[in-house]
């Protein structure tokens, strides 16, 4: 990510997430990522790691849930083990950190910001909490 885009992303994130987001390893293309804390309407907090590819924003970033680690579904099964999953909108995990499907690759474009990615992840988390309440798959809540 070039420096102009970096400043734009940082400004938008600071405006909306104040101190709950931070860039990590900016100069290491292997690990450069955004850490962001998201809170659902239930009050439950989640820590996400959004991996920023070297050609971001031209290719899509990947979003992982860091904490709580090893999220489970309503039946108690590890979501990482259920991945990839269409029902739960999950891509391939990194260890026990699940990867959220936030944008379809074909719909991704460079005017989407990391802030929007984080919002899409928040929508996934709300759907996840609804799944925990009702047992319905996440797809049920995200399908418009």
């Amino acid at each position: 990510m070039d420096s102009t885009r970096y400043r734009i992303e940082k400004t938008i994130l600071e405006q909306n997430f104040s101190r709950r987001s931070a860039f990590v390893d900016r100069y290491n293309p292997e690990t450069f990522s955004l850490r962001v804390g998201l809170k659902c309407s239930s009050g439950q907090a989640y820590q996400l790691r959004i991996r920023i590819p070297p050609d971001y924003p031209n290719s899509i970033p990947r979003a992982y849930v860091m904490t709580p680690a090893d999220l489970r579904d309503r039946a108690g099964q590890s979501l990482a083990q259920r991945s990839p999953s269409h029902d739960m909108h999950l891509l391939s995990p990194d260890g026990n950190q699940i990867q959220l499907c936030h944008y379809k690759p074909a719909n991704w474009h460079p005017n989407v910001t990391l802030y929007k990615v984080a919002l899409k992840c928040l929508v996934w988390l709300e759907a996840y909490e609804n799944h925990m309440l009702t047992g319905k798959p996440i797809d049920h809540f995200l399908h418009s």
Binding site: R5, I8, D55, N58, H86, L91, C101, P110, N111, T113
Partner: protein, 419 residues
Amino acid sequence: MHPLVYADESQVQALFRQVSPRRWRFKGVAYEWRGEGVFHVFARTPAVAPSGYPLGCFFAFPPEGSQPEPTEARVVQEVRAELGSAGMPFRQAVLSVFHWRNGSLAPHACLCAPDRKVACDLRYVPAHSELYSRSRGLLEVEALERKRVVIVGLGSFGSQIAIELAKAGVGRFDLLDFDRLELANLARHTGRIQDLGRFKTRVVRDAILSKNPFCEVRTFEVDINRRLPLLRQRCAGADLVISVTDDNASRFNVNHFALQTGRTALFGRAITRAAGGDVLRARPGAGPCLSCLFGQGLLQTPAEVSTIEQARRDLPAYTAPDQLQATVQVGLSSDILPITNMMVKLALVALSEGTAAGMQSVAEDLVADFYLWVNRRDLIYRAWPRMEYFYNRNSILRWYGIRTQRDPACLVCGQLISG
């Protein structure tokens, strides 16, 4: 009709410059179209693997003042003596003889075998300046010859575009693609069955050079998404950038670097089931960029998916294999050609800008930066009226110029143009 022998005029001239009283006979290489009486002779192995089957080849420039007939009979004798020897494993050879007479080289050729000699017609493949003289007047050939076009993606689109531009007289190409030609590509790619397994860049380079051996072609067998500095460098050295890859990340990367280096870029693609296609000309500072249009939803019609690898990239990782296979729905080569043809026209307009070339009237027509091609009454065009005899309403098999504007909030061209 006598058998035909084609010789490269500039190679013959170069050999002639090496002639001395002691050295006036040279070995070359010749290729034969068997049973067709057609031979191509070269002073050295050509840069592009030649077609036909090899046979012996000699060039002779008898010293000035020597009598044509006895000299030639002597050379024929020498050639016959060499046929079948260890250094010449052929049973016949093409002999091209050039006598210096009245200030010019009088050429003639014959086919020599141990038991016979057949007179041939020798024809020159003309030197550089004459090869593309036919398009003169229509296009400013000298200007186009100096233009460099970067083509990213040498699949069914890129291969057609590259060859058409070479035929129009464009002289310099940078070709970028890391794919190899596979069986599944053959129906739509310009590559031939004997090219299977080769890098598409090299296949297209050879096709360009077969049309115009004076083109300068550089090939880069790289994944541009992982070689961004190289992509930037190539864009900076280009007069025009053409992006015809099948993945969005590479299209956005090209968009980014073409804008950053101030180069016009063309993007083209077919949409699902070849129902149509679209072409964007992105002019830095003067019109919308790829990201502007994508953000406005203009490019979100599902692209044609021509390979399972592309389906894997475009669809989420959880997509079932049979669903992946179902999205692979390709059109025919003839569905692609109208789109590549439009891109070639837009390319020639862009490359001829500022010259007094015959593209002026086309340029006046092609003022839009975004074009839709409607190919079949299918998918989004399903409800369109039939073409039949109407010319005054929408129909298939037509181009539509779409009025578009820069997205003032576009983060890609906004920051690059202002910065």
